[in-house]
């Protein structure tokens, strides 16, 4: 019997996955199965693997996460300044309910709670040989983070690596394992499984009206795709198109922070924050804030036009009631690091996410501010005049209703940030009459017309249709001719 062995994924290369949760974090149950698959030294082998966890209330955090490298460069400093600022090491945080809510800022959101599940391979560990490199540049570990969980207040859960990929076969479910190597050369593999009793992890697109989708699917079943596809057999897992409920609309924006130019600093990085406001609800699995890499312009260019290419994905997936017309906003803060790694703020800017579907590249429309040396905005919403309500109320008291007062805020125009957004909206009703297809969409409508002439009609029927159409056209032509004739008669 052939046993198909699943290809293992190197755990230290595995990507971070986000999940949207719909239950309390206390109800999360994970099952981790660790297996030793290769023993390098069989004589001196002893079974001393230990599992332990670290949570943010413990006070001496391990630095393992910091030491994970992203590139195959051996010499790149393991700790860069941005990483130590953002990821840092988990710090114990005060959870005082009376503690005032922190003001929104661009950049990485602090997790609400975090936890590391660590496997310690050997008890003979000394501080010196914490991490060595074997000859083939594979990293070996004495202590290994099997899973790093971070839970955020907007009900997302970030896991690295994510839950093991499930592969469904006829008889059973297999999970693709992750692997790592210990300092002694032993190899391990493990799987992570969600065994929560409740539906802890939300389905991919929440708010989808399943019954509606199914009914729709039934009605559209008669329409064959115009290509003979293999989807009927293989794509059984994709049965319906997910839609929002009838009173809701969804806004998807697939974009990227493309580049920046005209700034003074050498090494730039951009922090962003998506402000959904009170109306929009985040339905995506992406975090609503983030930070790009630290990018240097290529040295060949003139410093005035030196461009930094970021290529940082920026996805916004939000949902709101159909009546809402105030768009979500994205705020950006451009920073630079100098030769001594000192941080300086290069500028601020913001943009609306367009509510109408569009392909836009915002660089003309963006305003960048630079505010004095090393002063930083406490509330980034100040940029668009959507401050916290407290300040607005104060203004209201002094008779300054709905007035954006920027007096005393000195700015300087700096460079430009290029952001590209591709926006698609989705709602329940396919109101084609309300939405005229743009001229560029002609091809699409043609496709639908072609489909209406469904494939199961015979050739004869189609010919008949053509004939009747031709006759109708003739009749119309005749009518027109007679009309024109009568007009000329009048003259």
């Amino acid at each position: 019997m052939v046993r198909n062995v699943l290809h293992r994924i190197r755990a230290d290369h595995a990507p971070t996955i986000h999940y949207r949760t719909q239950d309390q974090l206390a109800n999360l149950r994970l099952k981790i199965t660790v297996k030793r698959i290769y023993i390098s030294d069989e004589q001196n082998w002893d079974d001393n693997g230990r599992l332990y966890t670290f949570v943010d209330s413990d006070n001496k955090p391990p630095t393992l996460e910091m030491e994970r490298r992203l590139t195959n460069s051996r010499e790149t400093p393991l700790r860069n300044d941005l990483a130590s600022r953002y990821l840092g090491v988990p710090r114990p945080r005060e959870r005082d309910p009376s503690h005032e809510e922190s003001l929104p800022q661009a950049g990485v959101i602090e997790p609400h709670e975090e936890m590391m599940i660590i496997f310690s391979a050997s008890s003979k560990r000394t501080e010196k040989d914490e991490k060595k490199h074997s000859e083939d540049d594979d990293e070996v570990w004495n202590e290994f983070i099997l899973c790093y969980l971070r839970a955020f207040e907007d009900q997302t859960l970030q896991m690295r690596p994510g839950l093991s990929e499930e592969i469904h076969s006829a008889s059973s479910i297999k999970r693709r394992p992750y692997s790592f190597t210990s300092v002694e050369g032993d190899q391990y593999e493990y799987t992570i499984e969600n065994v929560s009793e409740t539906d802890f992890i939300a389905p991919p697109a929440p708010g989808a009206d399943e019954a509606q989708g199914r009914a729709k699917e039934k009605s559209s079943k008669t329409n064959e795709p115009f290509l003979k596809t293999k989807s009927k057999k293989e794509g059984t897992h994709m049965v319906k198109f997910l839609k929002p409920t009838s009173t809701m609309k969804q806004l998807y924006s697939f974009g990227q922070i493309y580049s920046a130019y005209g700034f003074e600093g050498d090494q730039l990085y951009v922090e962003y924050w998506v402000d959904t406001g009170i109306h929009w609800r985040n339905i995506g699995q992406q975090p609503q804030a983030g930070v790009t890499q630290i990018c240097s312009p290529s040295s060949r260019e003139h410093p005035l036009y030196a461009t930094c290419h970021f290529g940082m994905p920026l996805t916004v997936e939000v949902e709101a009631e159909t009546t809402i017309d105030s768009p979500p906003k994205i705020y950006f803060q451009i920073n630079s690091l100098d030769y001594w790694n000192r941080r300086r703020i290069e500028g601020y800017c913001w943009t609306d996410v367009p509510l109408q579907p569009a392909n836009v590249s915002f660089y003309e429309k963006m305003r960048c501010f630079f505010i004095g040396a090393n002063s930083e905005l406490q509330d980034i919403r100040y940029l668009s005049g959507q401050q916290q309500t407290g300040i607005m109320e104060q203004q209201r008291g002094s008779g300054m209703d709905n007035l954006l007062n920027r007096f005393g805020f000195q700015t300087e125009t700096t460079g430009r940030l290029v952001v590209k957004l591709n926006v698609v909206t989705l709602n329940q009703h396919s109101n084609t009459s309300a939405m005229m297809p743009p001229p560029s969409a002609r091809l699409c409508t043609m496709g639908e017309m072609a489909e209406d002439e469904s494939l199961n009609t015979t050739k004869k029927e189609r010919n008949n249709k053509k004939m009747t159409a031709l006759q109708r056209a003739h009749m119309r032509l005749e009518a027109k001719r007679t009309m024109n004739g009568s007009r000329s008669m009048d003259r």
Binding site: Q428, T432, A441
Partner: protein, 176 residues
């Protein structure tokens, strides 16, 4: 089910430190929703040594047919640019990505490329001998995670020409 057709070509690359470039590309869409019905979603171009100028022409054809059950996980093109040097060694030059346009029509797209930066000695070695550091996990090119651990250098631009055709989008309530 909505369908998306992507027809076009990878026109070329410009702005890289030297010529004779080739390009590895792939298209990534969320596998839970998007299914490729026809076409190649990854490939590699020839090496182009431009006779004059710095624009390396690939003219590499793309023709893909997707079927989807959600807007989420919209397809992304990801690129790796390599340089083939005088001795026939392949040297890494840069990563870049772009989204498929969310409108039907003809598009000319530009993709900003970057490469990870090494230490001073690595950069020196890279300058004379070639061989820039690469990502251990290339998924980082089109995901925003862990970006803050990287230091990168700006590289050139990849040029794309795509025609996008949608089918059954309006019927499913999608406005584009």
């Amino acid at each position: 089910m909505p369908y998306v057709h992507i027809i076009g070509d990878i026109v070329g690359a410009s702005g890289f430190p030297s010529q004779s470039l080739f390009c590895k590309w792939d298209v990534v869409a969320d596998k839970r929703f998007w299914e490729k019905l026809e076409g190649e979603i990854e490939g590699q171009t020839q090496t182009d040594c431009p006779a004059d100028g710095e624009f390396a022409v690939f003219a590499h054809p793309i023709d893909i047919h997707y079927q989807t059950s959600s807007i989420s996980g919209w397809p992304k093109f990801s690129f790796q640019i390599w340089h083939s040097d005088f001795f026939g060694r392949s040297e890494f030059y840069g990563y870049g990505f772009c989204h498929l346009p969310t409108k039907p029509g003809d598009f000319t797209l530009e993709v900003a490329c970057w490469r990870p930066q090494g230490t001073f000695y690595e950069e020196l070695r890279h300058h004379f001998l070639g061989g820039a550091p690469q990502l251990r996990n290339p998924e980082l090119v089109y995901s925003g995670e862990d970006r803050y651990r990287l230091k990168t250098v700006t590289m050139g631009t990849v040029h794309l020409q795509l025609s996008v055709v949608f089918k059954d989008f309006a019927r499913h309530g999608i406005q584009w």
